[in-house]
């Protein structure tokens, strides 16, 4: 146990055993997946048409916004080149699905259906449509375990979007709230401030939303303010998540571009 806790030698053993466990998890997940599939396939034509119109509108809106972003990104890149610093904003992503199984109680973990075979790695960041969800802690050949950002043993480096103030967001383990630690009582923070990942520590990509500040409690006599952050990712209800490869080395980039060119 100590070996597993402190070192990573047993990761391969765990990976092999997880191949054994995966079919079980898959079978347990089947009825739920079937229910989802049924409820998706048994919808009326009217509903589908409505959804289609809605999605089309959304697509149009997002596309128009994206055009602006493209210009901004170019401009940003030019300015950064002027400053002689380069930041790669685009990352490779892959969609994974949740396997709905029960894990250890009192910890915030989920299982997803992508593993080593799809190129997932230990410590890989996971995001959903709203923001950062967590990171992979165990990889198996077909599935991986993800530690959510609300777990009490999880912390991630963040910054406040408005003024760039850096902090560390630690999970509380209960009621899906994070707390920002060691912020002095006179720090420039307000309720409703957007918190984004800062990319320090080279594990999470920078610039992904993490949450918004929901409560600031100033306790007299305490040196630090107690700041609660409501995560912007739907940690409890997302069924699809994204695997992100934020810090790929140059070679892989070249290979990918070649593939795209072909």
């Amino acid at each position: 146990m100590t070996v597993d806790h402190k070192k990573n030698h047993l990761e391969s053993v765990r990976s092999i055993l997880s191949t054994l466990v995966y079919p079980l998890q898959y079978v347990v997940n089947l009825p739920l997946a079937a229910t989802h599939w049924l409820s998706e396939s048994v919808v009326t034509r009217q509903k589908l048409m409505d959804e289609n119109t809605r999605l089309n509108e959304e697509h149009l809106k997002l596309n128009s916004r994206l055009q602006r972003f493209a210009i901004l990104e170019e401009e940003n890149k030019r300015l950064r080149e002027l400053l002689e610093s380069s930041v790669e904003l685009r990352e490779r992503v892959l969609v994974a699905e949740l396997i709905e199984v029960e894990l250890e109680p009192y910890r915030q973990q989920i299982v997803i259906n992508k593993g080593l075979n799809q190129g997932a790695y230990d410590g890989q960041p996971i995001v959903d449509a709203g923001g950062i969800m967590g990171q992979i802690i165990h990889v198996g050949p077909f599935s991986s375990t993800v530690l959510l950002i609300t777990d009490p043993t999880h912390a991630l480096p963040v910054q406040i979007n408005r003024n760039g103030l850096r902090a560390i967001a630690v999970g509380r383990g209960q009621n899906g709230v994070l707390s920002l630690q060691h912020l002095p009582t006179n720090a420039d923070i307000r309720e409703g401030d957007l918190i984004v990942s800062s990319g320090l520590g080279h594990r999470f990509p920078r610039g992904y939303p993490v949450g918004t500040i929901s409560e600031i409690a100033l306790i007299p006599g305490e040196p630090f303010a107690e700041v609660s952050v409501m995560p912007s990712a739907k940690l409890g209800s997302s069924r699809e998540v994204l695997l992100v490869w934020p810090y790929e080395d140059q070679n892989k980039e070249v290979v990918k571009e070649e593939v795209v060119a072909n």
């Binding site: 146990m1 597993d4 806790h5 047993l10 053993v13 765990r14 055993l17 997880s18 054994l20 466990v21 079980l24 998890q25 079978v27 347990v28 739920l32 709905e100 199984v101 029960e102 894990l103 250890e104 109680p105 009192y106 910890r107 973990q109 299982v111 802690i137 165990h138 375990t145 009490p152 043993t153």
Partner: protein
């Protein structure tokens, strides 16, 4: 010779697989804390019924599988299950002659010990769980034990597992 001595090993394997699946099954939040410790209960049954076939080694391997499934530290469930298997094996002769109610209470005590081991290791890892609800599974397991016992006994007799 071995084939004649033992029979129906697949029944034992299937019962463990079903137990792991019941542990894995997602439940609504309000029943989650009451989930019985299926794997440990099935292990106690087989250790009691067939102490020469199912023992500490099986408990340990089962625990490792459970650890991988639950994402705990390798060995957390394994240690607890091995200890339970050991206690059951040294006391199976007494255990067998107890009436069902007394067995259920004893099972609850064993499972409290199992939960205690889990809590202890989690505490060492720095994941405290002082909430009182960690003792609830032992209680539900106590009420389920008589039914589980009867079902597993009938299965054992039907498929002539010995």
């Amino acid at each position: 010779m071995l084939g004649q001595q033992h029979n129906g090993g697949w029944v034992i394997v299937v019962s463990f697989v079903v137990a792991i699946m019941l542990t894995t099954m997602p439940l609504p939040d309000w029943v989650m804390n009451w989930r019985p410790v299926w794997v440990a209960m099935v292990l106690i049954y087989w250790c009691m019924a067939l102490p020469d076939r199912v023992g500490i080694g099986v408990g340990w391997c089962l625990g490792l599988l459970l650890d991988v499934q639950q994402g705990t530290v390798l060995g957390q469930n394994a240690l607890g299950l091995a200890v339970i298997a050991y206690i059951t094996i040294i006391s199976y002769q007494r255990f067998r002659v107890f009436p069902l109610a007394q067995q259920a209470v004893l099972v609850a005590i064993y499972l409290l010990l199992f939960q205690f081991f889990n809590m202890w290791i989690r505490g060492i890892m720095g994941i405290p769980s002082q909430h009182w609800s960690i003792w609830l599974p032992a209680l539900t397991s106590m009420f389920i034990w008589p039914w589980l016992f009867i079902i597993l006994r009938d299965i054992r007799r039907k498929y002539h597992v010995f």
